[in-house]
Symmetry: C2
Subunit: 212 residues, 2 copies
Amino acid sequence: MGNRAALMSTPTVFVVDDDVSVRESLELLIQSAGWRSETFDSAVPFLSRPHVAVPSCLILDVSLPDLDGLELQKRIADDRVDMPIIFITGYGDVPTTVRAMKAGALEFLTKPFVDDVLLSAIDHAIERSRAAAEFAATVRGLRERYASLTRREREVMALVVSGRLNKQVAAELAISEITVKAHRGKMMRKMRADSLADLVNMAATLSPQMRG
Amino acid sequence: MGNRAALMSTPTVFVVDDDVSVRESLELLIQSAGWRSETFDSAVPFLSRPHVAVPSCLILDVSLPDLDGLELQKRIADDRVDMPIIFITGYGDVPTTVRAMKAGALEFLTKPFVDDVLLSAIDHAIERSRAAAEFAATVRGLRERYASLTRREREVMALVVSGRLNKQVAAELAISEITVKAHRGKMMRKMRADSLADLVNMAATLSPQMRG
DNA sequence: GGGGCCATCATACCTTGGTGTCGGTCCGCG
DNA sequence: CGCGGACCGACACCAAGGTATGATGGCCCC
């Protein structure tokens, strides 16, 4: 138990702001609060940085020399779902704030802000990042298993989770019931589902990917 | 089919704003777009108005004489989940905007705004209201059925949706398997679930209420 | 041509789920 | 006190799920 904290990797707080004095003071604040920090003076270098495998968040200035903050937010929306964004800005207007929040920003702060407000926002962000990463990993695992199914197995799975009996599945696919059982068994093993309830929940989590 | 539109009740747009000229112009705008409208000069009278049974939304001024807009939003958050809020304000500041959006506001507009922007916001709001009302009705139905279960039936349901076999349920509850079957059958009928898959989905929808 | 994968089906066997009927105890309520 | 409901359980019976073994044929690729 003693070295568990040492083994856990430290969350990273990214900062993208074109003002060097802001970067420096934020870096100091972040590191003194016990997180790792990495700063960038514009969006493009940040985008080319490889992803990290630890909980993280992004403190992002709205106005930037290359891509502005909202653009950057759009770029990483699909890409890094486990990196919540905290916006900071010198002169914030309402429409920009609304756009940022609608696009899923966790927080939107105007400079100057109280340090504690930012620190607690980071706290929340890291916590959310952790949860999002965990969920993403689950979904990734499920998608891999689903991808390993054959077409028939997928068809059987879809009908089974919708509550059809083997007999009905057989009728809808115009095959015999025993064949359905074969597909079903193989599918359950591939999905590593150890009960129908399990499978239904998996399908619910997967439902966005199952349609596409 | 011909009189179906006539039978469908018209969505209602509520307006709470202390400026009479705003109320009047909004009323005109809303009604000319084909919706019903009801206006209030402050929060309290609005709160005492009975709920409507049609899709609806609320156009809400941030600053009001009695309860301010954010307070009112808090009050109706649990109460009227099917009434999305569109904020309007003369002098909007960023922190207020953030609070409103975090609390689930659909839109936050600063006066003066383009009519079309508001109209399309109302469109979205009504659509969301419709969906929310439908979902709420589903949940209400499920909760009623769940409430009609006896304690034992609920215990059996919880174990069944977690993937346990009747045999295992019997062991965990220290009763015989045949009794589990009896409870299970009665529970399925009461819940109007016609397959295990069905029940698992119901339980997923109900899960917030099942814990509490 | 052979090996691998997929899909199909069959036979046989066992487990699990589901229902109906019947009977019993306990408890609370009018 | 009697009634209803919850809870428990047994017997019987049938439907559905699950697995093992084995076999056939199509297809693709080396």
